[in-house]
């Protein structure tokens, strides 16, 4: 389940009003979320939630559900 706050950050960064984001959604399914913009999405998430991701953690992400889990693990620490 993607939290409303994470969804809000992603959509704001991609300049989208609404888009159905669920655990299985891939970045490539979302307009504007290409490999070049990916880094900006990640930085926006880091800034908004005041967390830092390591490169290896980011390389393991397969879908938005994985990003949510990674974020949750950082926030629970």
């Amino acid at each position: 389940m993607i939290s409303p706050e994470l969804k809000k950050v992603i959509l704001k960064q991609l300049n989208l009003d609404d888009f159905n984001l669920n655990d299985a959604t891939l970045a490539s399914d979302v307009p504007g979320w290409d490999s070049l913009n990916h880094i900006n999405v990640i930085l926006a998430v880091e800034e908004n939630f005041n967390v830092k991701f390591r490169s290896m953690e980011l390389l393991r992400l397969k879908n938005i559900g994985d990003l949510q889990k990674l974020l949750d693990s950082k926030l629970s620490k």
Partner: protein, 577 residues
């Protein structure tokens, strides 16, 4: 101190050169295949050549003949390299094509590949099983040039080479002349408009010699690269040059690098790499988008030269990179700039390694009128970054619209000639005739010369360059013209400066009958999705009412005029987001 040492006559074709290197440096690293979080796979020159021989036996058994084109659509895999070398050994021509991004619509990928196959005359496709359902139907289509599709990563290479078969293939390799075609690369483009450039062994070897000499490469150098090999900067600069010179290449997965740009810096640090090539946007990304925590232990002091090429060079990008990485041992004099294109194998001009790059502060308004005038207190300033001086055996002129030479300091089209010039686009004589005259290649780039240095400042052609990748606006417009809510033929795509990322982004302006905010947002979303289907991210959408777009004399909406109109003024009729 070691000096540049490369004698073309010792081995004048690709295979003969690689074989010579395997005899000369059997245990030296040829390719360090880099995968994040894993121990890299290390190909020594000897092992690489021995495995390439096995591939060549398999390829010969399949009936592949000299001169046939083998297109490789394979992701980052250690067996790609010996396969590539094996294709060359049997006299066939390797070509590297991009593996499709998941967002690219399967039909668009198929159409693009079909167009490319017909234009370039692709004979065989080597790919991964995943693409079989997409590619197989192409073979069965009437008129298809593609004879078969193979999955070489699945081949069993655990066999001893039959000496007789090996001798036969070595005979073929020995019969290849340096004037024979050595490889096929595509000049640029997205789906259907790529221009196939065939390069001879001689052109490639001459380029290795001239560019290697200009870069002052020695046998102690090591190249680190994240560049995809379907791109000329990656294929020639990062791949062919080190392999021909007998120096190591550390090859990073391009898909991993873009997600974790620190990988290039890690590879440079761990392998003590001395040379790298990368387009301008990467300087911004590495300077501004990597967390400090990830940079722990990074040491760039080994880096002797990092070459910026493949898209317009921005002064700010270099400045940001130096500011960020000097404390990690980066020497600002390692910055260098190369200007070139696939049609000349790669480079035409290069700035002097280990010397500061010339930058001119000029008056932007005068420059837009075609005159380079140094800025003064009243000027809107533009910093023009030099692309350097001519590499030996290359020539360049600046010409006006009538193709007459113009003096230094005036802006015109850059035309070039090189010892490594291509022989024309394959199966595309009309396009060749358009750009080739009297042995000169008309680049479509605008620039000026000042004190023997060349400054590239713009483009005559409407091509958009995003992160070093060339995108034809026609491809985007074609995709959008079939889109609901837009007026057919009344759509334009163009590039806008993306200062943050150090590159360009894609913008679209379209005439629409949509009136309300809600309707316009729906049209915008349709445009974004249509872009996704051809794997192009449209960053900004402008919507305008019917008959707003300015037409050119040919009756089509003019990209240049409409871009200027949109960016220069505020117009209440224009909706943008």
């Amino acid at each position: 101190m070691k000096t540049f040492n490369f004698n073309i006559d010792e081995a004048d074709t690709l295979w003969r050169r690689w074989k010579l290197n395997s005899e000369r440096y059997p245990d030296k690293d040829a390719i360090v295949h880099w995968v994040a979080g894993e121990e890299p796979y290390r190909w020594t020159y000897k092992n690489l050549i021995n495995t390439a021989k096995k591939y060549s036996v398999k390829l010969k058994e399949l009936g592949i003949k000299p001169g046939e084109i083998c297109a490789n659509i394979i992701r980052h895999n250690e067996n790609f390299y010996p396969l590539y070398l094996g294709i060359s050994r049997i006299g066939a021509l390797p070509a590297v094509l991009a593996f499709p991004n998941p967002r690219l619509h399967p039909d668009k990928f198929r159409q693009g590949l079909e167009g490319m196959a017909q234009r370039s005359g692709l004979d065989y496709i080597f790919t991964e099983r995943e693409l079989e359902p997409l590619i197989k139907p192409l073979i069965e289509k009437p008129g298809s040039t593609i004879k078969n599709v193979y999955f070489p990563l699945e081949w069993d290479l655990d066999f001893e080479i039959d000496p007789k078969a090996d001798d036969e293939i070595e005979m073929i390799a020995g019969s290849i002349k340096d004037s024979d075609p050595g490889l096929l690369q595509h000049s640029s483009g997205t789906t259907g408009l790529q221009k196939p450039v065939v390069l001879s062994h001689r052109a490639i070897m001459n380029h290795v010699y001239q560019l290697g000499k200009a870069m002052k490469l020695t046998e102690n150098d090591k190249v680190a690269s994240w560049l995809p090999l379907y791109h000329d900067l990656g294929l020639i600069g990062s791949y062919h040059i080190p392999l021909a010179l007998g120096i190591p290449l550390i090859q990073i997965d391009p898909f991993q690098w873009i997600l974790a740009p620190v990988l290039l810096l890690e590879a440079i640090t761990k392998e003590k790499a001395t040379v790298s090539f990368t387009p301008n946007f990467a300087y911004n990304i590495m300077a501004e988008k990597i967390n400090e925590e990830d940079l722990e232990g990074i040491d760039l002091s080994s880096l002797r030269v990092i070459i910026n090429a493949a898209e317009p060079i921005r002064h700010d990008s270099h400045e940001k990179f130096v500011r960020k990485f000097q404390k990690y041992g980066f020497n600002p004099l390692a910055l260098a700039v190369l200007y070139g294109m696939a049609e000349t194998t790669l480079g035409v001009t290069l700035t002097e390694p280990s010397n500061p790059i010339t930058e001119l502060s000029v008056d932007r308004n005068e420059l837009s009128k075609g005159v380079m005038k140094f800025s003064d207190d009243n000027s809107v300033v533009r910093i023009c970054v030099s692309s350097g001086k001519l590499i030996d055996e290359c020539e360049a002129r600046i010409v006006d619209e009538n193709r007459n030479d113009i003096p230094d300091g005036l802006v015109g089209e850059v035309v070039v000639k090189s010892i490594s010039m291509f022989d024309g686009y394959r199966n595309y004589p009309e396009k060749t005739a358009e750009v080739f005259e009297g042995g000169w290649y008309y680049t479509g780039d605008y620039g000026f010369r000042y004190k023997d240095e060349f400054f590239i400042i713009g483009r005559k052609k409407d091509i958009i360059i995003v992160a070093g990748k060339n995108i034809y606006p026609e491809d985007i417009e074609d995709a959008l013209n079939q889109t609901e809510g837009l007026i057919p033929g009344r759509v334009i795509a163009f590039g806008e400066e993306d200062a943050e990322m150090g590159t360009e982004f894609v913008s679209v302006v379209a005439e629409t009958k949509a009136e309300t905010e809600d309707e316009k947002n729906k049209v915008r979303m349709t445009i974004l999705k249509a872009g996704m289907n051809i794997d192009v991210v449209i960053h900004k959408v402008y919507l305008v009412p019917s008959r707003w777009l300015i037409k050119s004399s040919a009756g089509k909406p003019s990209r240049k005029s409409n871009k200027e109109r949109l960016i220069g003024i505020t117009d209440s009729q224009v909706w943008s987001r």
